[in-house]
Symmetry: C2
Subunit: 459 residues, 2 copies
Amino acid sequence: MQRKRIAIIGAGPSGMAALRAFKSAERGGTDVPDVVCYEKQDDWGGQWNFSWRTGTDRYGEPVHSSMYRNLWSNGPKEALEFAEYTFDQHFGRPISSYPPREVLWDYINGRAVESDVKDAVLFAHAVRRVEFDSESERFTVTVDDLRHKATITEVFDEVIVATGHFSFPNVPDFEGIGTFPGEVIHAHEFRGAERFAGQRLLLIGGSYSAEDIGIQSHKMGARQVTMSYRTQPQGFAWPDGVDEVPEVARFDGSVAHFVDGTSREFDAVVLCTGYLHHYPFLPHESRIDSPNNLYPDGLYRGVTWQKNPRLHYLGAQDQWFTFNMFDAQAWFVRDLILGRFALPDADERQAHIDEWKSAYAEVATDEAAVRFQADYIRDLIEQTDYPMFDLDEVVATFLAWKADKKVDILTYRDKAYPSVMTGTMATVHHTAWMDELDDSRERYLSTQLDADEASEPVS
Amino acid sequence: MQRKRIAIIGAGPSGMAALRAFKSAERGGTDVPDVVCYEKQDDWGGQWNFSWRTGTDRYGEPVHSSMYRNLWSNGPKEALEFAEYTFDQHFGRPISSYPPREVLWDYINGRAVESDVKDAVLFAHAVRRVEFDSESERFTVTVDDLRHKATITEVFDEVIVATGHFSFPNVPDFEGIGTFPGEVIHAHEFRGAERFAGQRLLLIGGSYSAEDIGIQSHKMGARQVTMSYRTQPQGFAWPDGVDEVPEVARFDGSVAHFVDGTSREFDAVVLCTGYLHHYPFLPHESRIDSPNNLYPDGLYRGVTWQKNPRLHYLGAQDQWFTFNMFDAQAWFVRDLILGRFALPDADERQAHIDEWKSAYAEVATDEAAVRFQADYIRDLIEQTDYPMFDLDEVVATFLAWKADKKVDILTYRDKAYPSVMTGTMATVHHTAWMDELDDSRERYLSTQLDADEASEPVS
């Protein structure tokens, strides 16, 4: 009997989790399908694969990553730790709770290298089309090999979409923005805040992008950072020079007028207005069409396309949990594909979806949202051999993080948390985040700093 | 017998020329095929359909146009005039030789409206896939209706690719560019030079983009404009504050080091490094894979795909001539599709291609290049009923334009030329280009300026 063939689209954290899941089963002695992962970039890591480029890449493909040079994790690493490849295992010693991007890339790369799965990934391969043939019940996948300038067509039994949904900007229109004289970019195109030093910066948006780009810009010397919210202010204790205003009504030259009748002049605008679900390689009837929330419609257990259960999505939810949630999803999808449990019929699946959607409709607070996502992950892990971990403890970590941010948005990254997986206490980093202008892995891991280089640790 | 079905991909100047060509035949009493034009943007005009957006549009599709707010034609309008819809016919009175973008959009829109072809265009429709079935000899075209979120599939007898090749940036890498602290964009993302006032700007590139963005930035008050060339300097008589240097060797922070050992500090970089041929909706074997030149390989008479003569490209060449060349191409392709002349067999076509490629290989100067493209257009028009015009006179206009630029790069747009089509002499514009900061159509067409608003005309 011929082996099943599985296509994974995207080698970011979700696609890498799927590769890991199949490898883990294989190492356990299971006969696994042929797995091919198509990645349009030249390396894996998805959002964590930083590129200075914006717009399109050297092949003319849309740049995937929204990562900026100076990004540090904005949540404690203890909330995203893999249950079966810990930070201790990778780094061999404790590190701090909020590492910069290079260090997190190093961690996910380390697990993937340890998995020995690079051969399964076809880099610089852009998936153009995924078509399902209902007679043969197989997918025809059309892919451009960007380096060799060839178009290839392959047939698969199941397809796992792991392309993420933080790559295609949602960009609303604003009256007069077309003649704003300064730089106007979306957060997707933001690569560093150095150039906003001395400038008056408007960030349109009231969520994580605005918060972090705002604080980065403040750190890098922006003269004034204004964040414009639509529904409600973030309400942090902003430092001098950073504040929040309501929605932009219109621009008039370099002046933004807000809906409360106030106005300010700006040098630059960054649109922190979120992202679109965008799957141009799929026919519309196979695409998620959802706002960014914790339970997008149409997915059984948040992963398997209800209308065609041979199609799966990883990481399609909004995310409190990230890497370890992708693992839980990947293990579940793997076991479904391996036939380790039977797929319920369509009605049962729909009843399950409806049940979880009802539960989600009751979620009214951030705390409830974190608990909802923890419950979702627990439900997935219980079906598989992924190591269960103390999800309530991770929820507690998230809540402590939120409290830390409330106390001081500039110093929360100097806090340390214990690992839920190993109990190891994170170190207090050698330099306070606000004083650290070198975000490199080398600097981060250095233990030989000159005394005058390191600032006083925050305890 | 069923009518043939023709798909045109893209409703920019080339696609609009194709629509006009079929309409012209229909008005002449010919039974024409069903023509459908798919345009991913919300309006037609291609590059001339300005958007303030960069990166991706509101549907998540790559923004097509590289147009900037303040662009004025960089060649005399007399060189691009349609032979069968003149500027006189559209504007009803003489205008100047170098109109701003809104005025040129108005002109091409005017012809298209007069053609009554808007119903043939499906706007906000992105073509995802064009597959040729060699048995049925028909194309299956898969298209996303972006507004209604539906994927549709249609079958066509012939396909005309009119998507252009100035939309996907060619972006080389440079050592250290990833940590350049200032803004780094490609010319494709440039929307206006106001924000470079007082700044030191590096333009990487030695062709039209660098030249015009450089001059725009100088006009808008840039402190220093440096253009970096790879092969040879443009060599214009640059004003104070604008000059040329050789290739960038590397960046070190905000300092660019050039291959001649010199270095300069910059606030911003604009990559004027050209564009890629990029046709993600076609299999590679149907795609032009050519540098940007006057005779891309694989196209019979520069338009019809040698390997499959039911596939055509318009405007795939580098361009001295533009609108009227697209017309000549569209009329030729139309007549081929209408069967007004027989398609030569593959060997004859190849011999014709080889002959023209040999001639192109002899082209060594700009003047020879303009004459080569004029000869190419003459050869096309001779096959069809498109009105022949005095191509030698257009060549003379191009040469005069080049001489004007050589004399003064800041004032060449103040010159006036006679129409090759009507003999009408262009007006001298009411305001010298360097003094004109309002690029609107309204201002341009105004004849009631206050005396003190208008500057002295340049004669």
